[in-house]
């Protein structure tokens, strides 16, 4: 069987772009929900494209790629993007002192510092759930991340927040400072 390399290459490009585009569309559709920026998204998509290219597929085999293959490729692409970013960050890491805050903000900052310290006094399960809750993750997301039921998570958030408030009160941060 003889193959026309020009036609093969064209068909491969089309097939590969179809797979990449499908993945890029799915990633874009969830990006906002997961707070992922355009730059990170574009990098992962590009890395997936590079990996599929390097796997030396043919137009036929790329059409038959299973979901699990695409999944592994995408996750390892994301890991590469993260590692690359960390390598870059370590070069520019600065640990200078924080800039001084204007007077009006100081009180609020002190309260915030107390919140951070009080958080350390919570039991681990409650602390992690409260951290995720205060970071803006909803109950379903927290439940999925921890492998627990939503009822358990709701309970832990409720008890954790109560613990946090009483720990803050013990440190002299009352409801007035928190409202």
């Amino acid at each position: 069987v003889t193959h026309d390399p020009v036609t093969d290459e064209g068909r491969l490009s089309v097939a590969l772009e179809r797979v990449v585009t499908r993945f890029a569309d799915l990633l874009r559709s969830v990006a906002r929900r997961y707070r992922v920026g355009d730059g990170d998204m574009a990098e992962v998509v590009q890395e997936v494209r590079v990996r599929l290219w390097r796997a030396r597929p043919s137009a036929e085999t790329i059409e038959g790629l299973g979901v699990s293959y695409i999944y592994r490729t995408a996750v390892s692409a994301a890991l590469t993007v993260i590692q690359r970013r960390r390598d870059g960050e370590s070069l520019v890491e600065t640990a200078g002192p924080r800039a001084g805050q204007p007077d009006g903000v100081l009180g609020r900052r002190e309260v915030a510092e107390q919140v951070a310290v009080a958080m350390g006094a919570l039991a681990e399960r409650r602390r992690v759930v409260v951290r995720m809750h205060l970071s803006g993750y909803d109950r379903a997301e927290i439940a999925r991340a921890l492998g627990w039921s939503e009822a358990t998570v709701r309970n832990l958030i409720y008890r954790g927040l109560a613990d946090l408030r009483s720990e803050l009160a013990r440190r002299g941060v009352g409801p007035e400072e928190l409202s």
């Binding site: 390399p5 020009v6 093969d8 290459e9 064209g10 491969l12 993945f23 799915l26 990633l27 969830v30 929900r33 997961y34 707070r35 992922v36 990098e43 992962v44 590009q46 590079v50 290219w53 390097r54 030396r56 597929p57 036929e60 085999t61 059409e63 038959g64 979901v67 699990s68 695409i70 999944y71 995408a74 996750v75 994301a78 890991l79 993260i82 590692q83 690359r84 960390r86 870059g88 900052r109 309260v111 915030a112 919140v115 951070a116 958080m119 350390g120 602390r127 992690v128 951290r131 995720m132 205060l134 970071s135 991340a145 921890l146 492998g147 409720y158 927040l161 946090l164 928190l178 409202s179």
Partner: protein
Amino acid sequence: MTDEADTRLRALYGAVAADQPAGGHPSPEELAAVVEGRVGDAVRLRVLDHVMTCGSCRRDYDLLRATQTAAGGRAQRRWRPSMATLAVAAALVVALIMRRAAPTAEPRDVVRGPVAADTGVVQLVRPRGRVAAGPLVWHAVHGAVQYRVEVDDDSGAVVLHTTVRDTTILAPALVAGRAYQWWVVAVGADGAGLSSSVAPFTIAR
């Protein structure tokens, strides 16, 4: 507990607590293991305790979650190999065995990467124009045994000049916003060179 009090606590938490990492950074692989639920409660809690107090790890964690979801975290559970898929897989195995067994008339490529159309030049994939930082990628060429890659900056100084067998290399520390140009020469077993065109590019800030 009122919604306003919750909002206020969130703001206070975000102001400081989300910027004071608890414990060391988990490796990217460890983060992926947590996202995929491949670890026990103890590791999961330790890693998430850190992630929720570290801006950069949280960005990594969210990126992995989004990738997992987009790449079929959900679809994967539904996916069952159909007869058609099994047939394709079987055909693939046969094709691979045939390719290994049959001696090819052409000299075997020793380089990795897909082979571009025989256009008589090396085809560059990326970077071109304004792009995010990332690897340099080009199409493989039939018969090439290695590639010479060169990157010059806008003053004409050589930033990178290296010889590789792969068709992808990681760019060195290129400065964002600066203009560069690059090209690749494919070198055959007999030493003959086949060049790409010169591609200008800029790393986006």
